[in-house]
Amino acid sequence: MDTIGKIERHFKALQENLNGSAGNAWRKLRREAFEAFTANGFPKMKDEEYKYTHIGKVIEKKFDFSGLASPTAEATLEKRPVFHDADAWHVFIDNGKSVDGSLPEKTGEGLEITTLREAAINHPELMEKHLGRHADVHKDPFTALNTAFSHEGVFIRVRKNATIGKPIILHYTDGGSGADIIQTRNLIIIEDGATANIIESFTSAMEKERFSNHVSEISVGAQARLNYYKLQNQDKEIYQVDNTVIAQARDSYAQSFVVTLEGRIVRNNLHFLLEDENTETHLFGLYVAHGQTHVDNHTVVDHQLPHCYSNEIYKGILDNKSKGVFNGKIFVQPHAQKTNAFQSNKNILLTDEASIYTKPQLEIWADDVSCSHGCTTGQLDEEQLFYLRSRGINKSKARAMLLHAFVNDILDKIDIDFLHDYINEEMYKRLD
């Protein structure tokens, strides 16, 4: 049986299995997503969006979809992930399923953390309004595949005007069940006037080939503020596709950090929908790749209405035979006058075999806007290196100092100490 055939069999079994449970709308969404996925299947090599990252072909070849996660797969928590003891709200997700008893029971008035399944029962209107409404199943085949099989996942709601001081950490520990295909999903709703800090931490090290297909949908309400961090530091055997969509309402503020330190192929689609006026958005990215790692960041900032500001800075260091891809789209729709949108991508290649494809893509249909973009790619500056060495600093230390200086402006913007220090340390390990 071919891969699509296997996927279809699983899909039917899943729908059957969930028959009668709550969420008719969700059931319809799964069906729509499944059809969207099977219409085109995995992205082909000629597919413009996946031109430099042939992950579709690799996934289809490497993984046997007869092992696609079924609703009965057990979640365990064998190893405690990093930050598990940090002062934060913790959610542990194993094999796409929140680990029993890991959801914080008492989070106070403003914060609700539960499963998508529970939310479908308790908040059907919120689920219908948001689930699958931001991450469009027709836009990306991996989003479609994830949505077609969505039945577990985490639901986070920060109530109106609530300020959640402690960060909320979603720990993805995939592995207890030994599954090689892991699909994870969240829905995060930051209601009007609320503030939250959310960390998605992918740090399990299994040294086992597996495919992780993640989708996060985040709604940021009017006047709300979100600081969002994604840390990708799994082992070098992981093939990871991440679709994250953040929709911002009027006068809201959102800031994202995407830090990629490990993986075989990592593809991130980060999509900001600026759906109303006067929003502010910052996108920061850091990737430090070595060995055979392939890191691809595709970002979209979609300015739909006037007076919105967005600023994007992605920086990468590529060592050995690693490959980087950066594609940054900025759309300025016809109504989005007075848009300010900036973008920059800077890279350092440490070897002749490392490479980067970088492509800014601005599509502007309004006439009163201020937009800029720029990208640079280079080697370490030999003159700077010699200057440091001529003062008695050895070559490897001088090299580490310069690389650190290169990424420091982004790193220092991470103001959650335990996260900042961890990333700093992990990066130094690779650069020294």
């Binding site: 200057y387 060495r389 003062r391 600093i393 070559k395 100092m401």
Partner: protein, 251 residues
């Protein structure tokens, strides 16, 4: 202290230095002068270990060790210092962090304990006063956005902090106004001792009014063609380099 014998060096197959001999003893100040393109900066770069230059012949010993076999950082750790003609800007590395790393790597090489933050700050504050540098510059990125004068003062400041045995000043005077020149010269003079030595590479005699050399050498076409005392510099100032060139042409 420094002994250069028949040094030949070049870059990308092009010979620039064609047999330099020079002896420098502790306590001495040597000035190396010469017209543009004579090889002055190449000489300074080869001594400091700039890797793009290739030494094709000759030898250099520094405090009894083969200098040419050492990495640039080891030359610095042995006590050699080059004040750059064009100091490099490094965004994201503060002057304090840079110098503390340098001081402690040198100390480690010499088997000394690292300086803690408090002792290090005390050490550098004394040296800052010497070159009249604004302490605020310490926390800024190294040389980034510094004026020409500030950059050159920063070189002398680094020299004061690292306390080298042999300092090579590569056109430190070029482009300086008279006030900055005085400050730089004052710093160099204060750092002079019977144990250390200085090589001034310069195009202009003016610097030598402030730092009086024991010896003046004229470098031309990759060789030292004339050596003398400080009066030679004055003669060059008055007569230019043409008479030297003519002497060389006449053999």
């Amino acid at each position: 202290m420094l002994s250069v014998k028949n040094l030949h060096a070049g870059i990308e197959g092009q010979a620039i230095l064609k047999g330099i001999d020079l002896e420098v003893k502790p306590g001495e100040v040597h000035a190396i002068m010469g017209p543009n393109g004579s090889g002055k900066s190449t000489f300074a770069s080869v001594l400091a270990g700039r890797e793009e230059y290739e030494v094709t012949e000759g030898e250099v010993t520094f405090l009894g060790k083969n200098l040419l076999e050492m990495a640039p950082e080891d030359r610095a750790r042995e006590g050699l210092f080059l004040a750059f003609q064009y100091p490099v800007e490094i965004a994201g590395v503060s002057t304090t962090n840079f110098l503390r790393t340098a001081v402690n790597q040198i100390r480690e090489y010499r088997g000394q304990e690292p300086l803690d933050a408090v002792r290090f700050l005390k050490h550098i504050k004394e040296k800052l006063a010497l070159v009249e540098m604004d302490p605020k510059l310490l926390s800024r990125s190294l040389n980034e956005g510094f004026s020409g004068g500030e950059k050159k003062k920063n070189e002398i400041f680094q020299m004061a902090v690292l306390e080298p045995k042999l300092a090579i000043l590569d056109e430190t005077d070029s482009g300086l106004d008279i006030d900055a020149l005085r400050i730089v010269a004052k710093g160099v003079n204060k750092l002079k001792s019977p144990d250390n030595a200085t090589i001034l590479v310069t195009h202009y005699q003016r610097l030598l009014d402030y730092i009086v050399p024991d010896y003046v050498h004229v470098l031309y076409k990759g060789r030292i063609v004339k050596s003398g005392g400080k009066d030679l510099a004055l003669e060059l100032e008055e007569r230019g380099y043409d008479w030297i060139k003519e002497e060389v042409a006449a053999g």
